[in-house]
Each structure stands twice: as structure tokens, then as C-alpha cells.
Symmetry: C2
Subunit: 317 residues, 2 copies
């Protein structure tokens, strides 16, 4: 497919006009790091900062997508336009995304007020944080009042992605095993609101007791943390959840600028590391490619530190 | 605590002499990126490349630590010295590691032939891959014939860490929900041997059928993949597992150099990105600090791309 060149300013203008195809194109270009895409984002950037960014994460199988689906429906009924960034964990080998439960959100596919963008966790580390920030910025500039980031949040990458949200909701289910195993996920610490979904199941009370115990161990304790019971498939508890999110949003308003500064820090560092990485790859190519250098390391002709630091010395001032 | 300066060559020599305290010290210094630690590793590096590196990952609650524990016991009985790198997911806020099931390995604590080192997934991305590679190199140079990397492998970070193994074992349990949810973890693709632990539970046959179905979807299919049933707590199936690991090791011998080259590529790139990151942080500090730059971005006075690229331009040749 040949794609005609598109000046960044005009692409940005089309995005601001609400052109969904232009928006999808810009998001793809940003994700692929097409030169020039960042320029369009620069044009959009002053229009950002208005959206409420909601992060949703939790154990696989906890019913996150159903919760997101129900939240979209509720925000739509409240007259909000909703953007969704759905993080698809993908294979490190095939690069493909698993779209399984994206399908559940299809019922919003024909709704103009909902824009869903999937991002795969592919390629090098940090890429996801950058891509997510970019997509959120585009949706924000387009006037989506609520932007939902949905991810499977047990890895460090996903945890960082969710830190980019104004309010982070962690979804769990009854019966996931003992406290230590659940804690292992390390995501409780980033939760602003906890959801126990499928709360019509046996063991819900026990799970909530366990969560309360764990929250006491959390730095800062269980201060103001709300635990909401939902059955997302029937809609039970979803109004409670929306209200708990609103309450956190109000409580966090005072520290919002602090949070946004931290998000900006993460964004700057990932863009910076992408830029230096690109320079490193040019130098590596000049030396015959990464595979050739790595072969010398694998054969113990050189150690990885000496190999890497020699490339670094060549590109850094 | 004041730590007396220790010339890197003498630290390396003590490590090669089997001094466990020196080894622990070097691992900590490498992890903390103490200047000079890399020099000690340079000295050790030519002695590495002999250990068999076994990666173990899987769903939280699948009983990985019990499987690792049983494997250690078996390799010890076979006269092998065993090093373990246990990856502890830690909070992005507190930086602390959760040591829950490390306790299960305590029975090896008094065994000279077993060295266990925990690593927390803290700090910036990529750090874990680097630290793991460093610890594996130290253990390898010290003559541990088997080095086991144990991690909770659902995030991109952990998947990359496990890619550093010669043989990757993925542990799952019956009854984790539908195929799509299990696939979401994205770890099946890196498995060389699949273990269904707690195989005395109901639903084991169904889980194995589901896994076989998923393997058919995997690139390269189910070619030569073995699925082993274990009850690690009783030791059932553990001999089968050790044999399956041995068979994979034998099968993979031909492609081992390819695999090690790929590991070296990952290692070089993380060391390289750490070096450029360090240079970037110096420049950021010169400009008043990351928080100051990020505040300008958060206030939309500048966009993150312009901010980051200006720093990159200052440090790159």
C-alpha cells in the first residue's frame, strides 16, 4: 500500500477537525515512529490536558473488558465521549496481538462517541509507555472527555502504563489463591479503586477480607481506598464503581498536577531513550550489525560491557 | 555503612576462588551499578558460557517455587551445583521485594552447593534483563553447572528475562479459565517445556486438551513441545520433568549458539541504553532536573517530544 505523504500540520488539523481516519493514521504513525508524526503531535499538544484518564487493570480472567464495556456505556449515557486504549499483550516472536475480548467492546463500534485503539506490547521496553502517552494525547486533543487505558497489569511495563492514569482501577475476582500470590502481582500499590468483580461468586467476602489485610501492609495503608463489588455482566455495582471513581477524581484533584508532572517525566525519559537508542542502532549498524557484535560476546571474545560501552562512547559527546 | 574500596580484579579473583560473600557483594554492586563492578565482570567473563541456564515461569499460584525447589533437590542429587536467580516483582513505589515463597527454598539455605539470589523488578525498564544476565554470568563463572532463573512471567520484562535461558519451562495449573485468557499471558510462545502442576486436581485433562489446541495456533506449532504433569508438593512427575528438560537441552544443542547470540544482543542493548540514560540524566540535571522539565510539559508550555529531543541533541554527537 502506498501512503501519500501528508504534511504534519495538515494531519494535525484534520485530527482536530474530528477526522477519525486521520486520527487512526496519526496513532499508527506515532506507534511506528514514522518521522514527522511527532511534529503533528507537537501541534496537538497545547490542546491536551483536559481529558480524564482512567486506567483499568487486573488479573487475567477478572472480567476487565466487561467492566470497561459497562463503564463506556455509563459514560456515554452521561453524554461523555470516550476514548479507549486497549493494551494487547503480544508474543515476543510473532508480534501479533491477541484480540480475544476486544470483541466484547464491538457493540460500541458503531457509536461515534467511542474510539477504541488497540496497542500491542511489542518491541523494546518502554515503547508501550510512549505509545500509550501518544494515543492518550491524540484522544485528549480531539476532545474525548474520558480516556480509558485498559491493560493486563501484572508486569512492570503495564504498571508503568497505568501510572499514566489520573485514577487507576484494579479489578480482581474471588478465589485467586492466597494473599502472597495475589500480592505478587504488585499492582495493589497503584490502585486508587479496587473492584471485586464476579462478586456473586462464593468466596467474595473472604477475598475482600484478604484485600483489606493486604491494604494494611501497603505504604500509606488503606487510606481512602474503596473496594467495590461488581457483577459487570449484569451491571450490578457499576453505578457504585462510577461514583467511587468520581470520588477519587475529586479527592485527587489537589495532587493532579503532581501526578501529571510524574507522567510527563516518564514520557520525556522514554522519548529520550528512544532517541538515544536510534543513534546507538545507527552506530551498531556501522560496525557490522548487532548480530556480529553479539556473536563476539557469545563466543567470549569480548564481554558485553566492553562491547556496549565502546558503542556508547562513539555516539555520546 | 562504609564499604572499603575493593579493586575489581581482586574481587573477581575472590569470586573465582568460590568466596560466596565476595560473589554476593559483586552481584549487589552490579545491580546498583557501582562504578568498577563491570570491570570485575569483565575479568570473569571469559570463564562463563558453561552453565546450563534454565528459566522457570508461569501463572502466579501455579506452584513455580515448589517446582523449582524440587528441581534443585534433583540436580543436587545428580551432583550438580545449582545457582538460582529469583525475580521478585516489587512495588513501583516502595521498591521492596515480596519474599513470600522464597521461604520455601530455605531448606537449601544451608547447602553449599546452592546459591540463591533474589532480584527485584525495580527502577527503569530493561534493568532486570541486565541484572539477571550479570548474576547468571557470575554464577556461571563460579562453576555452578545449573543456573535457574525463576520469575512470574506474564509481563514483557519477565518474558525477556526468560528468553535468556537455554531451556524455558512454563508452569500452569488446571482451571485457569478459557483459552483466550490463558493465551493472554503471551508466555506459551517462549515455552520449551510445559508443566501442568497440581495435576491431581480436577480439570487436568481439559487443561491439557486446551493447551494442545493453543499450541496448534502457535507459530511453529506444537513441534517437539512436551507437556508434563506434576504434583510438585509430592514429587510426582518431577523425574519426567527433569528428563523432558534434558531432552530439550539435547535437541536445542544445535541452535544453542544462535540462542546465546540473541541473549548477547539483548544484554548489549540494555547496557548500551543504561549508558546513554546515564548521560541523559547528567544533561537533565544540568538543565535544572527532570521535575522542572516535566513541569513545563505538564503545564503544556512545551511538548514532551521537543523537551526530550533537545536533551538528546545535547548529549549525542
Amino acid at each position: 500500500m502506498t501512503v501519500p505523504a501528508c504534511p504534519p500540520t495538515s494531519l494535525a488539523a484534520r485530527v482536530l477537525d474530528g477526522d477519525l481516519r486521520a486520527a487512526a493514521r496519526l496513532m499508527r504513525d506515532l506507534d511506528d515512529q514514522i518521522p514527522g508524526a511527532a511534529d503533528a503531535l507537537r501541534t496537538l499538544y497545547p490542546r491536551t490536558g483536559k481529558a480524564f484518564v482512567l486506567g483499568i487493570t487486573g488479573n487475567p480472567g477478572a472480567g476487565k473488558s466487561t467492566v470497561v464495556d459497562a463503564l463506556i456505556a455509563r459514560y456515554r449515557r452521561a453524554g461523555q465521549r470516550v476514548g479507549v486504549v486497549a493494551i494487547d499483550p503480544s508474543s515476543p516472536f510473532s508480534g501479533g496481538a491477541i484480540l480475544g475480548d476486544r470483541i466484547r467492546m464491538q457493540r460500541h463500534a458503531t457509536d461515534d462517541g467511542v474510539f477504541i485503539r488497540s496497542l500491542a506490547t511489542r518491541g523494546h521496553m518502554g515503547g508501550l509507555t510512549r505509545s500509550t502517552g501518544d494515543v492518550v494525547a491524540v484522544l485528549d486533543a480531539m476532545g474525548y472527555g474520558v480516556v480509558i487505558i485498559e491493560t493486563v497489569g501484572v508486569g512492570q511495563d503495564e504498571v508503568e502504563v497505568i501510572t499514566a492514569a489520573d485514577t487507576a482501577v484494579v479489578v480482581t475476582v474471588p478465589g485467586l489463591g492466597d494473599e502472597v500470590q495475589a500480592l505478587k502481582a504488585g499492582i495493589l500499590e497503584i490502585a486508587d479503586v479496587l473492584v471485586v468483580n464476579k462478586a456473586d461468586r462464593e468466596g467474595t467476602d473472604r477475598t475482600i477480607r484478604d484485600l483489606l489485610t493486604m491494604l494494611q501492609l501497603r505504604e500509606g495503608g488503606e487510606a481512602e481506598m474503596e473496594i467495590i463489588r461488581t457483577v459487570a455482566t449484569t451491571g450490578e455495582g457499576m453505578d457504585d464503581l462510577v461514583q467511587a471513581i468520581d470520588r477519587h477524581r475529586a479527592r485527587a484533584a489537589g495532587s493532579a498536577s503532581d501526578r501529571r508532572r510524574k507522567q510527563a517525566e516518564a514520557q520525556i525519559m522514554t522519548i529520550l531513550s528512544d532517541a538515544t537508542r536510534a543513534a546507538a542502532l545507527v552506530e551498531v549498524a556501522r560496525r557490522g550489525g548487532l548480530a556480529k557484535i553479539a556473536e563476539d560476546v557469545a563466543a567470549r571474545r569480548i564481554d558485553p560491557y566492553t562491547a556496549a560501552e565502546s558503542v556508547a562512547a562513539a555516539i555520546l559527546r
